[in-house]
């Protein structure tokens, strides 16, 4: 009998999907789920790579979220992430000018200052809410800074941004449409300012960038600014929050990092692999395709389960299920694969590296003091809240 798992439900991803992923990789690697109008779940590394690198056969135009049972059609004004070739390449080349290693590395001092500012509010020995209260502040501020929003607008920006992606505290009286509208007005103001006076921020760069004589239209620019918030916030927050939990669960590896911070970049790659903060992205077959004896029909949805591919024994060996910060090589697919692979990956890596560098330089003990509350999402099932107590390296000696 074919295995049967609720791949369409958040609880599947919030629990430990490891055993189900293993079963699927071995017994039904191209797996039909009939829920939500039906979709194929892809769990093997090689297959995720195969599909991700063939955008002509597997399109993003109908959207990258898993099917929800409602009919899908292509967005008449697509964002970068839902654009197919050849248009995608032109848009991406234009936008990626703002995300080259040179540009991103140059942001390190700002990133560090933002991280320090946030961590300054955490006292050793006193319980804090870590996910919402500390970690989440970092990516929003960095995106606000990237867009050239003045610091006094950051808190407002964060409220709108949280509400517009539906992650705000239910107690906050702001609907996602209202927040989306407020943000749109705010972006329009930032663009209008740059129209009069260019600076060296991302918006100015995107306004001036041209590929083959074409620049981004006003609508495309707006759509991209919204995409940045959706793509860059909760993903990074969850990498750091769930990565911290992985370290709490592996105290010997936490100790290794405290003793030798040069291991942090490799540890972040392992967090990316083991957590896979973005569980999946979806593609749509443009013709009938045979894969491992199954026929994927034209128009059907194909869900690339990165978390499953990232534990494939064929690539990561016998220890694929284990968390091991010394793993090398680590060619995980947490940032996707093919031409839609994450545009912000250098920035996400920089943010996570600086965060853990600063965190572990101040605190060498991290302790959960209560339950971890998860977000009920199939795509980014991260941490809503987690309370921790941080212990300072030298507080026992009374130095602080």
């Amino acid at each position: 009998m074919e295995p049967n798992y609720p791949l369409h439900l958040p609880d599947f991803y919030i629990g430990d999907p490891g055993p189900a992923y293993r079963d699927l990789r071995h017994n039904s690697p191209v797996h039909w789920t009939s829920a939500n109008g039906g979709f194929w779940g892809i769990t093997r590394y090689a297959d995720v790579k195969f599909i991700g690198s063939r955008p002509h056969l597997f399109s993003s135009a109908n959207g990258v979220l898993m099917p929800d049972g409602k009919p899908r059609t292509a967005d008449p004004r697509p964002m970068l992430i839902t654009t197919d070739p050849p248009r995608h390449k032109a848009m991406r080349t234009l936008i990626s000018k703002g995300f080259t290693p040179k540009h991103i590395n140059a942001m390190e001092p700002e990133v560090r200052e933002i991280v320090r500012g946030v961590l300054d509010s955490a006292e050793p020995g006193i319980e804090v809410e870590y996910a919402e209260g500390l970690v989440a502040k970092v990516p929003v501020r960095i995106i606000a800074d990237l867009l050239g929003a003045p610091a006094e607008d950051w808190e407002q920006f964060r409220a709108w941004s949280d509400a517009s992606v539906g992650s705000a505290d239910p107690g906050v009286e702001l609907s996602s449409q209202e927040a989306f509208g407020a943000l749109t007005t705010y972006f329009r103001r930032l663009i209008a300012l740059r129209e009069q006076h260019r600076t060296n921020d991302l918006i100015s760069l995107l306004m001036d960038a041209e590929v083959d004589g074409e620049s981004l239209s006003h609508d495309e620019l707006m759509a991209f600014l919204h995409l940045l918030l959706v793509a860059g916030n909760e993903t990074t927050r969850n990498l750091i929050a769930l990565g911290t939990i992985a370290l709490i669960n592996h105290p010997e590896q936490l100790r290794m990092l405290v003793d030798d911070p040069s291991l942090i970049p490799a540890a972040i790659e392992e967090m990316l692999r083991h957590i896979s903060p973005v569980t999946h992205m979806t593609r749509w077959a443009t013709e009938d395709v045979e894969l491992r004896g199954k026929t994927i029909r034209k128009g059907q949805a194909v869900v690339l389960l990165y978390g499953a591919a990232n534990r494939d024994e064929d690539v990561f060996g016998e220890t694929a299920e284990q968390f091991d910060i010394t793993r090398r090589p680590n060619p995980h697919l947490a940032f996707g694969t093919g031409e839609h692979a994450c545009l912000g990956l250098s920035l996400a890596r920089l943010e996570a590296r600086v965060f853990f560098e600063e965190l572990l330089a101040r605190f060498d003990r991290i302790e959960l003091t209560g339950e971890v509350l998860r977000m009920r999402s199939t795509m980014v099932p991260g941490v809503r809240t987690m309370h921790v107590r941080l212990g300072a390296a030298d507080d026992r000696a009374g130095v602080r």
């Binding site: 390449k89 990626s96 080259t100 290693p101 031409e339 692979a341 250098s346």
Partner: protein, 63 residues
């Protein structure tokens, strides 16, 4: 070993540069410049990491 770039696939975000900055550089126009057509002495590991790390599958090594 020769480094072959498929420019039609490259999106210029420079993952390759982060692995092997002596060989790859994205210029200010967002175009990838391959600074050395041959893999330099002693740089095979980092160039291989760059080739494997390219998400757009735009890089290849040829004998």
């Amino acid at each position: 070993m020769r480094i072959v770039l498929d420019r039609a696939r490259c999106t210029g975000i420079g993952i390759c540069e982060s692995f092997a900055p002596t060989v790859f550089e994205v210029d200010d126009n967002g175009e990838l410049v391959v600074l050395s057509a041959e893999v330099p002495e002693g740089a095979l590991d980092e160039v291989t990491a760059a080739v494997e790390g390219c998400p757009a599958l735009a890089l290849r090594l040829e004998p």
